[in-house]
Each structure stands twice: as C-alpha cells, then as structure tokens.
C-alpha cells in the first residue's frame, strides 16, 4: 500500500441494483453523490448535521444518514434510496403503501428518510409495538404530522408485507460473535 493521500478516487457504489462508478473528491458526501452526480433527488438534505434523518438511505441493508457518510466510505457497498423501494413493476412496497394509506405525511419532506428508516426497522423487528416504532424513528424528524400517523403507517406495513426492497424481503445479516471461555 502507498501511504500517499489521494485527492481523487474512483468509487463504485451499487445504487438500487445498478453499479455506478464515479471519480470523486474524498470530501464528497454520499448524499451529494446520490443527488448531484447520479440524479437521484428522492434522498433529501434537511439539517445536514446527522440530526433530522431526511437523507436516510440503506447502506448494505441498514439505515444510515447519507449526509454523514463519505462517498469514499460507500465504495463497494450496496445503497438503496427511496427510488429503489418499489417493486420493478412499480408496485409500492408495504412501507410506502402504509404511509399512503395511513396518511403518514403532510409536506413529504421527511418521507423518504422515514420510509428508509421504517424499512430498516421492520427488517430488525417485523412486529414492533408503538414504543419500538417511536424509538426506532427517533433519528427522523417530521415537523408536520406529530408522528401519530407515521406510527400508524409503520403498523400498517408491519401487518401487510414488512420490509421489502425492489419486491424482495430485506434480510439482515448479523455479525457473528466469538465466544471464548
């Protein structure tokens, strides 16, 4: 390995199932790669301080805040944005449909992040109660709804299909823990 510091690098991120190579500055944030270089503007920038969760995407299946991840860190990973949630035929995922049926939004600004965080939650816990839902969505701020309709939307999704990405169940792989006694 060279210890020389690169001022640009080529990253390849699989975004919604499509391999996307790009040459980027090290300081480029994942959210800007998605929005400005790839044109996927469904991922929103809200607070830009890893607080509000509007920029939440799935990174290798887990919800992260893309305003606080470098594109360089996402090299070689699989990223799912809100544009990748629906099935290939356009059928919305249960999570998307739940937010529609239960009116889990007003202005919609936080909604992409809410959908991604909810998808990640339901992969961990397919049957969360209200307290678990509120806890799991603590990193996503909505200034319109008061959250009650969002909780209802998550329950709707939990009861009708759970976590899916592009029509397939989102499966979590756990890190094995070594136990030496």
């Amino acid at each position: 390995m060279s210890t020389d510091a690169a001022t640009s690098l080529t990253v390849t991120v699989t975004i919604n199932g499509r391999r996307v190579p790009r040459t980027v500055e090290p300081r480029l944030l994942l959210v800007h790669l998605l929005r400005e270089q790839v044109g996927l503007t469904g991922t929103h920038v809200g607070c830009d301080t890893s607080n509000c969760g509007a920029c939440t995407v799935l990174l290798d299946g887990e919800a992260v805040k893309s305003c606080t991840v470098l594109a360089a860190q996402a090299d070689g990973t699989e990223v799912t944005t809100v544009e990748g949630l629906a099935a290939p035929d356009g059928t919305m995922s249960a999570v998307q449909e739940g937010f529609r049926q239960e009116h889990g939004l007003q202005c919609g600004y936080c909604t992409p992040g809410m959908l991604m965080a909810t998808t990640s939650l339901l992969a961990d816990d397919p049957d969360p109660d209200e307290a678990a839902i509120r806890s799991a969505l603590e990193g996503n701020l909505c200034r319109c709804t008061g959250y009650q309709m969002i909780v209802n939307a998550v329950r709707w999704a939990a009861e009708r299909g759970g976590a899916t990405v592009a029509g397939e169940p989102l499966v979590r792989t756990e890190t094995p823990v070594e136990v030496t006694r």
Binding site: T7, P26, L29, K65, C67, V69, Q73, G139, R181
Partner: protein, 275 residues
C-alpha cells in the same frame, strides 16, 4: 455543508493505518465510522489534511467474551454491541449504553473505538467504559500498550493517544448479574446527555461515572469513597457534583448540571440495587 478538502488514504490493516499515520504525522486523523469526526469537519471545526480510513480494516469488529473479560475490537459498531446477546449477558451496562447513543442510523455507523478516541465528555460510551475500569489497547510504532480508562481521558476531546497511535481494542470486565444503571437526561430524543450518570454495583458499593460534567468523562470518586465508607446511596449521591466544573449552555446552567448529577447518580445507584 461540505468538509474542507483533504487527502484520503484507505488502510486495509492496522499496520497500514499506522504506516500512514507515521508518514503524515499530526496532520492526519483516523476515520472509522465518521460520526464524530465528519460532523466536525462539515462545520470546519476540524480540518485534517489527511484522513486515514480504517473503516475497512478487517478483524477489528469482534466482541469476544474471554473468561472474566469482554474484548471488543475498536471497530465494533454501537449497533453490534447493542444487539449482541453475549455482550448483554456478560456486561449488560455496556450493551445498554451503546443503545443510548444517538439514533439507530448513528449506531449503524459509529464505532466503540471511534467514540472513545474522540473522548467527548458528553458522549455515553466513554463514561461507561470509565465506570467499568476498562482497558484500552493502543497500537503504535513503539509497540502495543495498554491504557487504563482512568488514564485515557486527559482533557477536552483529548486522550492519551499519541498522533501516531491507534486504539485497537477495548476490554471491560464481565459484570454478569451485578446491578447497573445508566441515567441519561436529555431534552430531546436522540440527543447528547445534558448530564448522565453510570453506576455499576460492586463489593464495596458501586463504581460510577458522569457524562457532561466537565471537560472529560469523570469518575464519581467522592460518591464511590462515601459508599465504601458505609454511606447510603442517598447520602453518597449528594457528593456527585463535588469538585466538578460543568459548562453552561442553552439547556442547563452550571448549577442545574450539578443538581442533575446528584439526582441522576442517586437514581442510578438505586436502580443498580445499591442501598
């Protein structure tokens, strides 16, 4: 907000990371999960010339229960610690505290080593590792060394790590069934603690540590001594703010923080079963 330009080195082993640190000196910073460093860089409060990305160094994300100790690789993420049933059984307070950091998205990226190396007095995990009398294993050009948690947190965002060293492992004792508690007072969900108090019961009373009561995480020495001398939890917790100089901000004055330290320490001791 976009960080100032920097050079990027991706290390694929801790040796590579150490070589990069050696070659770039104190202009370089290690990048793990990035959830302490990148927000500072976006605000331009930190402008390292070089980031050495250790996020892909393999074999540093382990959680091993080894006899009477738990050894955790520096790159173990908060979510892994939070969700590890083995860790929860061996050292439940650490699993619980990891689950109190930020929010799920933050815990998916942030690492134990990163949080400790950042050394923020307002963070949850440094105080927990301090209360547990953890050991921090540091690698560097002069070889490996072990630093007791009591010696590790030196000052405001300052630790015993030298610029050319890297934290590689954290060891905490198996506490098993010993009582424990973490009382975290926040104004908003997902926030940093306005003040927090950790308590872990032990033979002569309890070990305690305080979050956000000074420039670095603090052991509740006066409380521990009082308990060892036979004081009740209620009396001992009255000493929690002794000698502390917490900051004042929008959320709390200095006096209010001292009040919180006493109240939260009292609650933590009771919840930990310390009479």
């Amino acid at each position: 907000m976009i960080p100032a330009p920097f050079g990027y080195v991706r290390a694929t082993s801790s040796d590579e990371a150490l070589a990069a640190l050696a070659s770039h000196g104190d202009e370089a910073k290690l990048l793990a999960g990035g959830h302490s460093l990148l927000p500072l860089m976006k605000l331009r409060l930190a402008t390292p010339a070089v980031l050495v990305d250790v996020g892909r160094v393999p074999d540093l994300g382990y959680i091993r229960v080894e006899g009477d100790e738990v050894a955790i690789g520096a790159l173990a993420r908060h979510r892994d610690i939070e969700r590890s049933a083995e860790l929860r059984a061996a050292c439940p307070v650490l699993g619980h505290v990891a689950g109190q950091v930020g929010d799920p998205q933050v815990r998916a990226r942030g690492t134990l080593g990163g949080s400790l190396a950042h050394g923020d007095a307002a963070s949850d995990l440094p105080a927990a590792v301090l209360a547990l009398d953890g050991t921090l294993v540091v690698d560097g050009p002069r070889g490996r060394r072990e630093v007791a948690a009591r010696e590790f947190f030196v000052g405001f965002l300052e630790t015993a790590l030298e610029p050319d060293e890297m934290l590689v492992e954290v060891r905490v004792p198996v506490t098993g069934d010993a009582g424990w508690s973490y009382q975290k007072f926040t104004r908003r969900a997902q926030d940093w603690a306005v003040v927090g108090a950790v308590a872990v019961a032990r033979g002569d009373g309890a070990a305690g540590a305080l979050v956000n009561m000074g420039s670095r995480p603090l052991r509740a020495d006066a409380v521990e001594q009082a308990l060892a001398d036979g004081a009740t939890a209620a009396d001992a917790s009255g000493l929690a703010a002794a000698g502390t100089e917490p900051s004042a901000d929008l959320h709390a004055s200095t006096d209010y923080r001292r009040h919180l330290a006493r109240v939260l320490t009292g609650r933590a001791l009771v919840a930990a079963g310390v009479a």
